[in-house]
């Protein structure tokens, strides 16, 4: 290829038009003493190269940061995990005060974390879906905008405020309902007696409701975006067939946006799993192990770490908390990745 082009270059190099045509192949050729065109090109290329390296660098930086956090957690957790006297995954103990006798397991932390997040998800998903449908399909435009803004504002409330509100305002209000559920549906294991009285309010039930409010704007925001992207052609197609508003939603908006809704819910789940301050305030800390009921109290991964931070005085004890943090990191990372993946496949039914 190079052999065949070089003679051609040389023959055209004498002509003025040849200088233009030959530019891409000319650059390495030493026999072409045209100073302007290579410098012109290198200016363009420089900007290109800078932009490209900035963009690539930013990308690498993010990945490196996440990897560094993961590696940090892993390195600090391993010695403590090796010194652990009980099973890390299945033990219900959490004794980290004595570095020579570490006994810590995440089973109860996992229960409280997952249970409160699932309660939140079960409550928030239908409401978020309803709000998103209302905002995109039913609300008059004058109303939709301020209303959407209001929902977004929920995300701006600091989580410590949610914690205070949950513990001081919500808990007393809902405790009669919690007692009623416990008395009447107590035969279902998740409504059975927990490790604190159902009426205390400082339990997973209250925490889940507060978390539901906290993740509502995330789920609503994503779902609203996806629902609003439903192609007008599909909506009009359904309308022209004589579909009612609800039938339009069912035949076009929902199939189109379903994955986005699920993805948004997963994002909300990731947020709920990692929530710290609000749950630290709401959940009362107890040494009685939980009873796998939503009226349990205790600590989540995140609130356990926050509660223990005062005792971070030797590396082995700290390592136990870091190990718990590592689990939370992996779980939320996986949930978020899943969320993005589901969300990105939304509306793919087209193909």
């Amino acid at each position: 290829m190079t052999d065949s082009t070089k003679p051609e270059q040389r023959s055209e190099g004498t002509g003025t038009a040849g200088a233009l045509r030959g530019v891409p192949e000319e650059a390495p050729g030493p026999e072409n003493p045209t100073p302007e065109s290579p410098s012109d090109k290198s200016v363009v290329r420089l900007g290109d190269r800078i932009f490209r390296s900035v963009a690539t660098g930013s990308g690498i930086f993010v990945i490196a940061t996440i990897a560094a956090i993961g590696i940090f957690l892993l390195i600090r957790a391993i010695p403590s995990l090796q010194a652990n006297e009980v099973s890390f995954l299945f033990s219900r103990e959490w004794q980290t005060g004595d570095p020579s006798n570490l006994r810590f397991g995440i089973l109860d932390l996992a229960w409280i974390t997952v249970a409160s997040s699932l309660v939140a998800l079960i409550l928030a998903m239908p409401i978020a879906c309803g709000i998103a449908l209302f905002l995109t399909q039913y609300a008059p435009r004058v109303l939709a905008r301020p209303f959407a803004y209001l929902v977004d504002l929920l995300a701006a409330v600091p989580s410590v405020v949610y914690g205070l509100w949950g513990a001081l305002v919500l808990a007393p209000v809902i405790s009669p309902f919690a007692v009623w559920l416990n008395n009447n549906l107590g035969w279902i294991p998740i409504f059975a007696d927990g490790n604190v009285p159902a009426g205390s309010g400082a339990n997973v039930f209250t925490a889940g409701i507060v978390l539901a409010v906290m993740i509502l704007p995330i789920i609503t925001g994503v779902t609203r975006e996806v629902f609003a992207r439903t192609p007008t052609a599909h909506i009009e197609g359904a309308l022209a067939l004589g579909a009612t508003k609800w039938e339009v939603v069912r035949t076009t908006v929902w199939p189109f946006g379903r994955n986005g809704f699920i993805g948004g819910s997963m994002l909300g789940l990731g947020r709920a799993l990692g929530e710290t301050v609000a749950l630290t305030i709401i959940l009362s800390y107890t040494y009685t192990p939980p009873n796998y009921s939503i009226f349990d109290a205790g600590a989540t991964f995140a609130s356990r770490i926050a509660l223990g931070s005062a005792e971070f005085n030797n590396n082995l004890s700290v390592g136990a908390y870091i190990a718990a943090g590592l689990v939370l990191f992996i779980v939320t990372f996986a949930v978020n990745a899943l969320a993005r993946w589901i969300e990105s496949s939304s509306g793919k039914g087209k193909e």
């Binding site: 067939l241 199939p255 193909e351």
Partner: protein, 258 residues
């Protein structure tokens, strides 16, 4: 089945914009009427007013009467959903429901009316696809997504979907403008066949197409940009293209403007 349309003093607005002014015309049952005219003259807007799709757009308003065999579809007691079930529509871009199979697309309208009998739905699927000249091409893959078909096939699928509910009138909004000549020919042949059973109104930018498929042609125009569109004349197609009554029509069809 096939009913006639009488449009009387139809005025259409988008918010404050007066889009179409004082349109009065008749469409006979079992005939093809084409609407031609330059872009923005309101022909699609008029078409959308005929099955109450115009009012779906925020701020849109309709004045005047559209009579379907003498009954005003804009009467206060009339449910627009019911109107759209009796006056079907095919759009410029084929819009099969992407998440539904070919079969489900065809019977989507029937399912909305509550029809659940599988045997009947299968029969209607076959009949509608046959009448849309699509059956032979898709009969082995009825459960594949509607989006897996070619553009022309998708448009015929949409026609099958519109005819599956056996409407009184079939409205077509530039049904061939996104299609190649061969698919266009297939649709035009189809229109000629559907004319036996349906009243058809078609909007087209292609004057040859109007001349080929329609019995009567309505020419719409607007005096200037920002002014409302008007019906200039409606005539038997052969006469309109050979000897129009209005100078504006002649200028348009002879390519002097537009």
């Amino acid at each position: 089945m096939a009913k006639r349309l009488d449009i009387k003093d139809l005025n259409l607005h988008y918010g404050k914009f007066h889009a179409v002014e004082d349109v009065t015309l008749q469409v006979q049952a079992r005939s093809v009427t084409s609407f031609i005219g330059p872009s923005g003259c309101g022909k699609s807007t008029v078409l959308r007013a005929l099955n109450r799709m115009h009012e779906v757009i925020a701020g849109a308003r309709v004045d005047g009467k559209v009579l379907l065999d003498g009954e005003d579809i804009y009467a206060p007691s009339v449910d627009p959903v019911q109107v759209r079930r009796t006056i079907g529509m095919v759009f410029q871009r084929a819009n099969p429901f992407p998440t539904m199979s070919i079969r489900d697309n065809v019977v989507a309208g029937l399912k909305l009316t509550g029809e659940k009998n599988k045997k009947k739905l299968d029969e209607i699927t076959e009949r509608s696809l046959r009448s849309a000249n699509l059956w032979e091409e898709v009969k082995d893959r009825l459960h594949k997504p509607g989006g897996s078909l070619s553009g022309g096939q998708q448009q015929r699928l949409c026609i099958a979907r519109a005819t599956a509910v056996q409407p009184d009138v079939l409205l077509m909004d530039e049904p061939c403008s996104a299609l190649d000549p061969i698919s266009t020919l297939a649709i035009e042949d189809l229109i000629a066949e559907l004319k036996k059973d349906y009243t058809i109104v078609i909007v087209t930018h292609n004057m040859q197409q109007a001349a080929r498929v329609s019995d009567q042609t309505a020419f719409f125009n607007l005096r200037a940009v920002g002014e409302p569109g008007q019906l200039v004349e409606i005539e038997e197609t052969g006469k309109l293209f050979s000897n129009p009554n209005q100078k504006a029509t002649e200028d348009y069809i002879s390519g002097r403007f537009g």
